[in-house]
């Protein structure tokens, strides 16, 4: 078990936002597959259809996607939240987005009565104009939005960070100064692929975000830096597909890991990784998962 921002998780694996998180039924399915927690698709103030397809392609090194924050809006998602909340004890974290602090507060307040365990603020989507990383690269916006949501809700607030910045520590500190209870790092790295037969960018949005194995070293470095710079927990996400990846992320400083693209291989990945971590701890003689969190900072 691991406790993060006052929430108990039966294991340190969570479903990352944007993956099988649009319906209560799919979130329940992942909860049933052994995830310690589940994070919803990012929910906004208005229904949004997202970008035209292709919206996700598999590359040799990972995945490229530009979904475009499709979501049914908080008013409709409230019902999905109730379905998942009433069907499982696994903590459900509501990921939310907006174009400004007022939007974020409106969505957070709108979903508050469905009692998410925490809110995760998406200030990091790399391909939705006016949302996500447009906000998340600006320390003042990150701090003020975080502060506004923290004022409006009485559950923990996590802030998901973009790696598409010069110094992720500054953005992390802005979230911390705004009152964030934890940061989540990283969202996808901006990327693009072009169809050489026609010259067309493949994604409907032309560019998108890279995830999967290719981004893991970037995520490890971001988590490592944030762990040193901040006083609040860091939740690691980016390219985790095995228990070894999860252990590495935790040694860099992650209190828990989120898993996204790797669901492509199997939805059973959560219990596989959780039991892999447990066996590793036993083999190495660690008494608890806390023993390895940030270990790489202590070995020198």
């Amino acid at each position: 078990m691991v406790t993060i921002t006052g929430i108990d998780f039966k294991n340190p694996t969570m479903l990352a936002s944007g993956i099988m998180g649009t319906t209560g039924a799919s979130l329940l399915r992942i909860a049933g597959c052994g995830a310690g927690g589940v994070v919803t698709k990012s929910i906004g103030p208005e229904p949004k259809a997202g970008h035209p397809n292709p919206s996700m392609i598999e590359l040799e090194c990972g995945f490229l996607n530009a979904m475009g924050l499709p979501n049914p809006s908080y008013t409709e998602f409230d019902n999905e939240m109730k379905i998942v909340r009433s069907g499982t004890d696994v903590p459900v974290i509501a990921s939310i987005f907006g174009g400004n602090a007022e939007d974020f507060v409106k969505v957070a307040e709108g979903l508050a009565d469905s009692e998410p365990a925490a809110f995760e603020l998406n200030v990091s989507c790399p391909h939705a104009e006016g949302y996500g990383a447009t906000i998340g690269t600006d320390t003042c916006m990150v701090e003020s939005i975080t502060a506004a949501v923290c004022d409006a809700v009485d559950v923990p607030v996590w802030v998901k960070l973009t790696p598409n910045v010069t110094d992720i520590k500054a953005i992390g500190k802005a979230a911390q100064n705004g009152g964030a209870d934890a940061v989540v790092a990283i969202n996808t790295l901006r990327g693009m692929a072009i169809d050489i037969n026609s010259g067309y960018p493949i994604l409907g949005n032309r560019f998108g975000g890279l995830s999967g194995p290719a981004v893991k070293p970037v995520a490890i470095k971001c988590v490592y830096d944030l762990y040193e710079a901040l006083d609040i927990p860091v939740i690691g996400v980016g390219g985790v597909s095995t228990w070894e990846d999860a252990v590495e992320m935790m040694m860099a400083g992650a209190s828990a890991v989120q898993i996204g693209s790797a669901v492509h291989e199997s939805v059973d990945i959560f219990s596989d990784i959780a039991s892999g971590i447990d066996l590793f701890l036993q083999d190495k003689g660690y008494s608890a998962v806390e023993d390895i969190i940030g270990l790489s900072h202590e070995v020198f």
Binding site: I19, S26, N53, S55, I57, F63
Partner: protein, 259 residues
Amino acid sequence: MKPVDAKIVEIVEESPSIRTFRFDVSFDDALPGQFVMVWVRGVDEVPMGSSYLNGITVQKVGDATSKLFDMKVGDSVGLRGPFGKGFTLPKKDEHILIIAGGVGAAPLGPLADYASECGAKVTTILGSRECYELVFEDRFSSAGELHITTDDGSAGTCGFVTTVLADMDVSVYDRICVCGPEIMMANVMKVLQEKDALDRSEFSMHRYFKCAIGVCGACCMDPQGLRVCKDGPVLNGSLLIDSELGDHKRNSSSQRVRV
């Protein structure tokens, strides 16, 4: 995989609104019931059940299919696939029942071909609104016995596929493979449930797809969260009991909409 460049080598007009496009690219490992993502560059990318190893059979319904219908032999699209789970492959001496409605015949054509080639017996109920909308009539009749139904009675039995199905003894079939409009499939499911044949039935579902590779969750069905693009599109009928089939689906914003 990135989309493969596929040049159109043949266009067959199956009906006024349904055409088959054959490409210079063949997905030789595609199984009946699997689908490909068809990228009409600059417009959209849409899922299409493979009707041939190198072909798709398409109804003109939206932007991407309209643009596809403007294309000529020599024009090209991008193809990714084959994706998803297809129909259970028939074995020699098995007897399968195919129930196809409208353009839903597309993924069932290759199943009929496969079944007759491997020595399985095939019976088909092929339905459409009017006689000129019947797809793959010759293909199904050369695979085995064929029952035709049309809503207006312009060919075969006047009525729906369920009109013929209701009077059938389905206990003789090892499997019943279904694809067609959602309301048709929901009605077929009811009949098969009454006949206690649901666990031997397989339905090819259609839902709005985004990623098409089992990651994003846009096509998940209630209440089990089954991904139509990866756990399906072909799902055993027993998985669809009390599901959203025939009731609701999600639009591109993941809002629930009535079927």
